[in-house]
Subunit: 210 residues, 2 copies
C-alpha cells in the first residue's frame, strides 16, 4: 500500500546524514580533536548547532574519561533518564551504569542532610565514586554537592560530564565546575543541558564508533 508520507527509514543513513549536517553547520574549530565526536553527539542530542558556543571542557577530559571506562570504572548518573540514555553496547568493559535516585534510603537521607533527593542519592555512590565517570543531566544540586565534597577531600571521579539544565542554579553550578582547576570536566554553560546531553557525552567518549 502506498504511504502518505515518504521519509528516510535507514537508521544508519539517518545517523550519517545527521552527523554530516552538524559538521557542515557547526563551528567545531575550537573543539579539540579528541572531543570532536562528543561535540557532534551533544549537538545531535538537542538539534542546536550553536550549542558548541557554550561548550566548555578541560583538555584532559576525553583521555581521562576514556581511560576510566576502559579500566572498567562505573558511570554514575544523577537521573534514570541519563542512565537509560547510555548505550550499553558502546561501553568498553561492560561498565556498570548506576543511578541511586530510587534507592529506598534516599528520602530519609535527603531530609537528614537538608538537600534534594538527587543530592542525597549522590551520597550513596560512595564506594563507586573514586575514579568513576560522573554524568549529570538534571540537578544542579548534585553538581554543587559533588564539588563541595571534593573540596572537603571526598573521593574523586576521573571525569565529570556535567549538564544540569534549567533556571535555578544550573548555570552557576556549571561555572563552579569549570572553575575547578584539577578535575577533568565537560559542560555546556548557561541554562541549556539535560539528560540527553549527559548520555550523549558518555556515549561519545565510550567508543570511537560513530
Amino acid at each position: 500500500m502506498d504511504e502518505l508520507h515518504e521519509y528516510e527509514k535507514d537508521g544508519a543513513a539517518i545517523y550519517r546524514a545527521s552527523f554530516a549536517t552538524i559538521r557542515e553547520e557547526a563551528d567545531l574549530s575550537r573543539v579539540p580533536a579528541d572531543l570532536e565526536k562528543a561535540a557532534v553527539r551533544l549537538i545531535h542530542a538537542c538539534g542546536m548547532v550553536d550549542l558548541v558556543e557554550d561548550m566548555d571542557f578541560s583538555a584532559d577530559v576525553a583521555s581521562a574519561a576514556k581511560a576510566a571506562l576502559q579500566a572498567g570504572k562505573p558511570i554514575l548518573c544523577d537521573s534514570e533518564m541519563v542512565a537509560h540514555g547510555v548505550t550499553r553496547k558502546r561501553l568498553p568493559a561492560d561498565n556498570q551504569v548506576i543511578c541511586t535516585l530510587r534507592d529506598e534510603r534516599v528520602p530519609e537521607h535527603a531530609a537528614a542532610i537538608g538537600n534534594t533527593r538527587s543530592a542525597a542519592a549522590l551520597d550513596l555512590w560512595e564506594e563507586h565514586l573514586e575514579g568513576s565517570v560522573v554524568a549529570i543531566g538534571n540537578a544542579p544540586t548534585v553538581l554543587f554537592h559533588l564539588l563541595n565534597r571534593l573540596a572537603q577531600g571526598g573521593p574523586r571521579p576521573a571525569a565529570v560530564l556535567g549538564f544540569p539544565v534549567g533556571f535555578i542554579g544550573a548555570a552557576e553550578s556549571k561555572e563552579a565546575l569549570a572553575a575547578t582547576r584539577d578535575l577533568p570536566f565537560m559542560t555546556v554553560h548557561g541554562r541549556r543541558g539535560g539528560s540527553a546531553m549527559a548520555a550523549a557525552a558518555v556515549n561519545a567518549l565510550a567508543s570511537e564508533t560513530e
Copy 2:
C-alpha cells in the same frame, strides 16, 4: 564544616523559583489556559524560554490527553528515556508506561518492514494504541510511521505528544503531525525536541499539581 559553594537545596523551592522565572520571561500569551502548565514544563525541561515560539498544538489536546489518562489508558513511548522521564506518582490511574524498543522481536521486524528499530517497536503497540497517549521524544521515523498507519485506518491514539529531535526528518515529521486535521497533538516545530520534552508534556497533562 563550611561548604565551598552555597546553593538552594530545597527541591520544592527550586521548582517554585524555576516556574516563576519561566512565567516572568516567557511569552505564554498564545498558549491556551489548559496548556499553560505544559508549556511551562516544556521550557523547564530544556532551559529555553523562547521554546514557546515553536510550540504548536490542537485546541483539544489537553482535554483529550487528560481524559485518556483519567480513563486509565496507557502512555506509549518511543524511547526508554521518555518512559523513565514520566513521573509515575503524577499518573491519575496508575497508567501503564510502555516502551517496546527492547522487545526481542524488534530487530527482526525492523528488517522485515525496512524501517528503523524505533518504527518497528511501534508495531508492537498494536493492542494498546487505540485511545492511548503517545509520547515521542526521539525518532522522526516513529512519528511518520504512526501518521502513515493512521492514514491507512490504523488504531487511533487519543493524543500524540510529538517531540522528535534532530536534523533528518524531525522538523518534517512534526509539520506532518500538525497538518493532520483530526488528531489531538502537541509539538515543538523545528529541530528542537527530545525525550525530556515528551516526558514533560506527559507529566504536565497527567496532573494539575505543579
